[in-house]
Amino acid sequence: MEIFLLLGLPLAGGLALAVTGARHRAAEINVAFSFATLIAAALVTARVLREGPFTTWRELFFVDPFNAFLVALTAFVGFTTSLFSRPYMRIEAHHGRVNPARLRLYHAMFQVFMFTMLLALTTNNMGILWVAMEAATLATVLLVSLYRTPESLEAAWKYFILCGVGIAQALFGTILLYFAAGELHGAEGTSALQWTHLNEIKATLQPTVLSIAFVFLLVGYGTKVGLAPLHNWLPDAHAEGPTPVSAVLSGLLLNVALYAVVRCKVLVQGATHSDFASHLLMGFGLLSAVVAAFLLWRQRDIKRLFAYSSIEHMGIITFAFGMGGPVANFAALLHMTVHSLTKSAIFFTVGHAAQKAGTQIMAEIRGLLTISPSIGWGLMIGTLAILGLPPFGVFASEFLVLTTAMREQPWATPILLLALGVAFAAIFGRVQHMVFGETNLQRLPQSPSLWPVFTHLALVLILGVAIPGALAQWYRLAAALIG
């Protein structure tokens, strides 16, 4: 029941917003539906807390600790983003960058996008998972090109083609998975794609087929995660779309894609009885972290900067999942949470900062602190948090990742150290000059909504110094599940 609410609400919201296209109240309706979704997510979460993992509707949907926390996170960030986007899009409209028709598209697609992500998270069927991932691309591609500038069109085109091709490979992987379970193992019909079923029989699945399948799945979903060298769409799409879209792409979509990868990894690991999947994940993770760090170094555009930072963090998380084991998985899950909260908060502030400056070029944004202390401090604290400075949660997870790596995979630590060091220098060196110094910015026609920013940062702070016991227990269960 809760699942239907969870999935039905955003879908209904999308339809409603598409149909009504209400000019004045669209943003409020958007917020209302997002809030309702959040409530539904809370209900789902409560049920998992109460009953443990459950499947529903002929086992088509499945909720366990791993996806339940992602569902809650997705609904929460979706809600805060909708809050943020209200004043943000109004200012954009005021600046004449969007017209009412596009606003309508924006609001409808926002809800559809939420729907696709929640579907991808809750479905038990690997095929549906693929469908939902593809749908998520389709829903966002028009959001990326919302401004219809040449750059945004180019970005959207690249996004579409690259993710389309990537996801096509994931489909091939899914087919192979189905082939392994159905053709070779004799599972029938839908059950051959059900993750719960596959998870049970994983030890008996054919290793070679699963290895090949994993390559395709990893390359496919990995493209959406933004793993190097498949990441090329990511900075473009983040930089050229409206900021709320960047926030949810970075904060949520990447998580969901990574979720898909990890689900596949669990199966493959179980089947091959080797470190094949782990090594692939670690390799991709490290490569992404390093490549992203060096790409950060010469950035000029603020949204591209934080887009690359997302690649870097996804790399770290992927690496942690690759190492596996209770601590690394715990760290990876925690890192997913805090990265999503922090990065979306950063995009919120960045959006307003760019609006104030009228540009995304960092050299032209100066002295935020003078004109607007709250945005300035928000950006500064958010940046410090994302760079892994305590007492924020990102530090907690990086602490666990690094210490575990030092123990389990010492060869990887210099690479991680290099990536973190270069990324720190690159990001902080830029952000500092934007926040501090003499200002050249103007006031905005509409006061920004900043409490989402500080709520996120407060949560990240709490996760850094005192992780609630229930949440920790949850992470532990999920970590054990991932293995």
Binding site: W130, V131, A135, P150, A168, F172, I175, E183, I212
Partner: protein, 220 residues
């Protein structure tokens, strides 16, 4: 041991699929490409139907019908409309010349067959050859995407890739669950629509569908 006719049919269709994939790789004219795409769709529908007969799975007939409707009629029609509206006839020279592309393509086919070899050993005799061919056609379509310059040809290549996948799904694994197939079909349809929308946006903005206009976003 003699192979039953229906199996031979499927093998023949698979071979046709690969042939068409090569033909597409070599083809420069856009209209001809659309024709080849439609032909590939037809082969696909036929093989799905054949598979449905062999395996006796009713939902494969639905798949076959869906394929026929979508890939033989709807999408080619849509593409034709688009190119007529946008007045595109010729593909200019691809990035790599065609003979070289063909050579690479042959290499890919060998690679794909070798890759599928160990799996085929385990599979039932029907699906033995099809998996390799499906992989090969996916890779060939991928190659085509890389070497083409026009947005439209890229999209056709993308759709051809999807055909290869679909072939793998139906012939190698006797069809995915219906709900999944429906979902995939929906995605393909929506995707194609969005591609259509994009063509117009791109044309409007850049005055051309040549993708070399879209190389502005890069690191300096």
């Amino acid at each position: 041991m003699a192979i039953p006719f229906s199996w031979q049919l499927i093998n023949l269709l698979a071979a046709l699929l690969l042939l068409i994939a090569f033909a597409m790789l070599a083809q420069r004219r856009v209209t001809a490409l659309i024709g080849l795409y439609a032909g590939q769709g037809l082969v696909l529908a036929a093989s799905t139907a054949a598979m449905a007969r062999i395996s006796g799975l009713p939902h494969l007939y639905v798949s076959a019908a869906l394929t026929l409707a979508l890939k033989v009629f709807a999408l080619p029609w849509l593409l034709h409309r688009v190119i007529r509206r946008l007045e595109i006839r010729w593909e200019v020279e691809p990035l790599i010349n065609i003979p070289a592309t063909m050579l690479v393509g042959i290499g890919l086919v060998i690679f794909a067959f070798n890759l599928a070899e160990p799996i085929s050993q385990m599979a039932s005799p029907i699906t033995r050859s099809t998996l390799g061919i499906a992989t090969a056609s996916v890779l060939l379509a991928f190659l085509m995407m890389i070497t083409r310059r026009k947005a439209v040809t890229q999209v056709i290549a993308f759709l051809a890739m999807e055909n290869g996948l679909f072939f793998a799904a139906t012939s190698a694994t006797r069809g995915m669950p219906l709900v999944v197939e429906l979902g995939i079909a929906l995605d393909v349809l929506v995707g194609a629509l969005i591609f259509g929308i994009f063509f117009f946006h791109i044309r409007e903005t850049f005055d051309s569908l040549d993708i070399h206009h879209m190389e502005k976003l890069k690191e300096h």
